[in-house]
């Protein structure tokens, strides 16, 4: 058994939550290598992005498997001008919900916009190491 203290301390985006589980830690470690994982239920096969350790349908344990789609469409966006306290120094930033061809969705920042975002515009999945401990997936246009 791996003790929590031996794990590399990783955070998703600007998370402050330290409630990391072995399952979520595995997701974060893959993300640090620019690999996005989803979950697949070991009983009914249902897939979830972002991943869930327990299947939402049958509550069986799920396993982490690679998510291979990289292109999405912008479903909706917000430009956050007035941010929560922890992100005040980052504002303004753009949060987008992107939808992949399979219908799976992901919520993340768009980091390279040169003009106003538009619903329906194409998005590409990207990755970023924010600092030593912070890693994230993101959207690129």
């Amino acid at each position: 058994m791996v003790l929590m203290s031996e794990q590399k301390e990783l955070y998703l985006g600007y998370a402050t939550d330290k409630a990391v589980t072995p399952f979520f830690q595995k997701f974060l470690e893959a993300l640090a290598e620019e690999k996005l994982l989803m979950s697949k239920c070991t009983s009914c096969g249902t897939e979830f992005l972002p991943p869930r350790e327990h299947c939402q349908k049958c509550l069986s344990k799920a396993e982490l498997v690679p998510f291979t789609e990289t292109e999405a469409k912008l479903r909706s966006y917000v430009i956050v001008d007035f941010a929560p306290e922890t992100l005040t120094s980052k504002a303004p930033y753009v949060v987008a919900i992107g939808e992949f061809p399979s219908g799976k969705r992901l919520t993340a920042h768009i980091t390279n916009l040169m003009s106003m975002p538009e619903v329906g515009m194409p998005l590409k999945l990207g990755f970023e190491k924010i600092d030593d401990k912070r890693i994230t997936y993101k959207w690129l246009v």
């Binding site: 985006g13 939550d17 917000v78 007035f82 306290e85 992100l87 005040t88 992901l106 919520t107």
Partner: protein
């Protein structure tokens, strides 16, 4: 068969930045008018405290504190938490206990004290009602969730921001006539349409306020109602609905699925239709939320809410008056107090006791309260019926 239950009395504190009071004093302000009507502590069997966010005060065991402060230290109490729908969730809990016969007379007290922390800290606390693992790390504040709905709505129905600004103008028009309102001032359309951005496409005047305040209502079982009033407001229909935790997982962003489910259940229980409703108090935490509420409640077809706004059908003398007390926008939004305040306002309107004739809705037989938690994860819809002719 459950017993019928009526709202028999109500009280309301001044809403605002109440640096002169904390939650206990606010609750006393809300209960005092009820006490003065003769509903003294000994007449109340139990209380429910609607108190959504203890992180703002640091006070745990809130219902014990409030019961004790109000001289009800020996009367059973409990606290309910359901984010911004805590008020009507509390009323739903109390209704269940009275309808089932556990108690005859209960008081629901709603309160929130939010201004002892900075706006950024308040925004931080409220953003934690999003999914802490997957949404919070991207700084999705409370207005950001509704901005995600607004962007999509504006795209799907080709709507300009003008419509949202007109909703803000209406809210402030009525808030200016409500002595209990947090920000009782009229705002011109140009100001509402061009205010500083908060979460684009939403600006300052699209957002409700961070408010301190309290409201209270007393409910009683059918056979006890006459002891308290000859103008009971019957709880005719109750609907509760739920939606996905993460906003990205919703099948739509131009409607709140849980609100539609709650509305359907409430209409069915009450045996009435949207056309029968004479006034509505809707959860306008943001202007886009009010617009979407028109459609989720069946007052307008999907995508047609803007017509209702353009035609001013939502004014006090219109087809379906909405939030003629200023709503969360101008009256204010002390989270736990909001749903109770909606109930109080419907009772006052039904009794013809709005503060000014210019915001008094005529002949209210059925009033509807629509109270949404967070970005729609939980919704309560109540339909009230006037119990006198």
């Amino acid at each position: 068969m459950a017993r019928r239950v009526a709202v028999v009395a109500g009280g309301h504190s001044k809403f605002g930045k109440r640096y002169d009071a904390t939650m206990r004093e606010l609750c006393a302000e809300a209960y005092k008018p009820i006490y003065d009507e003769g509903i003294t502590q000994d007449k109340i069997d139990a209380t429910v405290l609607s108190y959504a966010a203890s992180q703002f005060t640091g006070q745990g065991a809130g219902s014990a504190l409030i019961a004790d402060y109000l001289g009800m230290q020996d009367i059973p109490h409990l606290r309910v938490e359901s984010a911004c729908t805590t008020g009507t969730a509390s009323l739903r809990a109390a209704w269940g206990m009275v309808a089932a016969g556990l108690y005859d007379v209960m008081m629901v007290l709603g309160v929130e004290q939010m201004n002892r922390v900075s706006s950024a800290t308040a925004t931080e606390y409220m953003s934690r009602a999003g999914d802490m693992r997957w949404e919070y790390p991207y700084g999705i504040s409370f207005p950001a969730f509704y901005a995600l709905m607004a962007s999509r709505y504006m795209h799907e129905y080709n709507m300009s921001h003008d419509i949202l600004a007109k909703i803000a103008v209406k809210s402030h028009h009525y808030g200016a006539q409500n002595p209990k309102a947090h920000l009782p001032k009229e705002i011109p359309f140009e100001e509402a349409n061009n205010a500083i951005p908060i979460c684009r496409p939403l600006n300052l005047y699209d957002c409700s306020l961070i408010t301190d305040g309290a409201a209270a209502v007393v409910i009683a079982a059918e056979d006890r109602v006459k002891e308290f009033t000859d103008r009971p407001m019957w709880i005719k229909g109750i609907g509760a609905g739920a939606s996905e935790m993460m906003i990205q997982d919703r099948p739509t962003l131009t409607s709140i699925p849980g609100a539609k489910r709650a509305a359907k259940a409430a209409y069915e229980m009450a045996g009435v239709k949207p056309d029968d409703i004479n006034m509505a108090q809707v959860h306008d935490c943001f202007t886009i939320a009010e617009l979407i509420a028109y459609e989720d409640l069946g007052f307008a077809e999907p995508g047609k809410g803007p017509d209702l706004v353009e035609n001013k059908e939502n004014y006090h003398d219109g087809r379906i008056p909405v939030n003629c007390d200023g709503g969360l926008k101008s009256k204010g939004h002390p989270l736990g107090a909001t749903g109770v305040s909606m109930t109080y306002e419907i009772m006052k309107q039904m009794r013809g006791e709005a503060d000014k004739p210019s915001r008094q809705i005529k002949d209210v037989k059925y009033g509807l309260a629509h109270n949404v938690g967070q970005s729609g994860q939980f919704v309560n819809v109540f339909i009230f019926e006037r119990g006198w002719s």
